[in-house]
């Protein structure tokens, strides 16, 4: 049964993605103000959604690891953090590409992009930690704490950045047009996109988790081998 899951998830991902793409490029009408570039939104927002989903998962997995101690929670946290970074990068990249034709500049310090960038830095640090450190229990606990602290910080980052931006409205324009989805076809397309990305996230999570568990298995096997070899020499 287990062997079928990744294949099912992969198939579901392909299917939902193709549907979403169809809806984005064929079905949904073009937005009046921004033209066809606005269609970036239908994938940009789901990327942000997955980012928050992933980072939330890092914290929850961290909490569960600290509470229950089973390695799988640690692996889940690590996998979720990597995926979160991937999609966070995509939010920044697509956001930047969207900004250029609309406002003429590659980057604007508007509250949403700035918040996303700060998150990117926080979880970048998390991944740096993981890559520099060995796969020990201490590091796993530290990473869990870091993940929880990161998520705890998010609301206050959002508030402070928003306050910061209202005081200096100079360079930027607030992102109107994002939530002005007048046509119900736009809402439908967005929902399908969100669904497709969520399924893709689950699939990628599963796949990444599998490699992390393999890594743990390698470590266990190496340990057993070392013990046996030491015993054989006695």
């Amino acid at each position: 049964m287990k062997g079928y899951l990744p294949v099912t998830l992969a198939a579901a991902t392909c299917l939902s993605m193709l549907t979403a793409l169809y809806m984005v490029f064929v079905y949904v009408p073009t937005e009046v103000d921004q033209g066809i570039v606005q269609r970036i939104f239908y994938f940009h927002l789901p990327c942000a959604w997955v980012t928050f989903l992933a980072f939330g998962m890092v914290a929850i997995a961290g909490g569960l690891y600290l509470w229950l101690g089973h390695k799988i929670w640690d692996d889940l946290g690590y996998a979720a953090a990597e995926l979160g970074m991937l999609f966070c990068t995509l939010v920044l990249v697509t956001g930047s590409i969207w900004a250029k034709p609309i406002w003429g500049i590659w980057w604007t310090w508007d509250s949403r992009l700035t918040t996303t960038f700060i998150l990117w830095l926080i979880y970048g640090g998390y991944l740096l930690l993981r890559s520099f450190a060995d796969d020990t229990e201490e590091i796993a606990r530290f990473a869990a704490v870091l993940g929880i602290v990161g998520v705890v910080d998010v609301p206050i980052i959002i508030i402070s950045v928003r306050l910061w931006r209202t005081i200096h409205p100079a360079v930027l324009l607030t992102r109107q047009g994002e939530h002005g989805l007048e046509d119900p076809r736009m809402v439908a397309t967005l929902l399908v996109s969100l669904g497709a990305f969520t399924i893709m996230f689950v699939w990628l999570l599963w796949v990444r988790l599998a490699t992390l568990r393999l890594r743990s298995r390698v470590a266990t096997l190496r340990r057993d081998l070392a013990v046996l070899e030491a015993g054989a020499h006695l």
Binding site: G35, I36, V37, R39, I40, F43, H44, C47, L86, T89, L90, V93, T94, I97, W98, K100, P101, M200, L204, V207, R208, A210, T211, L214, R215, R217, V218, L221, R222, D224, L225, L228, E229, G231, A232
Partner: protein, 60 residues
């Protein structure tokens, strides 16, 4: 259709980045599976060898 280029680059970058990540995991997976196989065979060999009676300890 203005700004078509931007639209194209945006969507391509999404799929390219995700695709690269999937390739990265795929290669990790293959490498780890190979390692697991190697270790399991090695473990099996050592276990077999341990089953063989040990040579008598040297008299001091």
């Amino acid at each position: 259709m203005e700004h078509l280029g931007y639209l194209f680059v945006a969507y391509s970058s999404i799929f390219v980045l995700i695709g690269l990540y999937v390739i990265f995991i795929g290669r990790r997976q293959v490498r780890l599976e190979r390692e697991v196989g190697r270790l399991e065979t090695a473990l099996h060999d050592v276990e077999q060898a341990a089953g063989v009676p040990q040579p008598p300890a040297e008299d001091l």
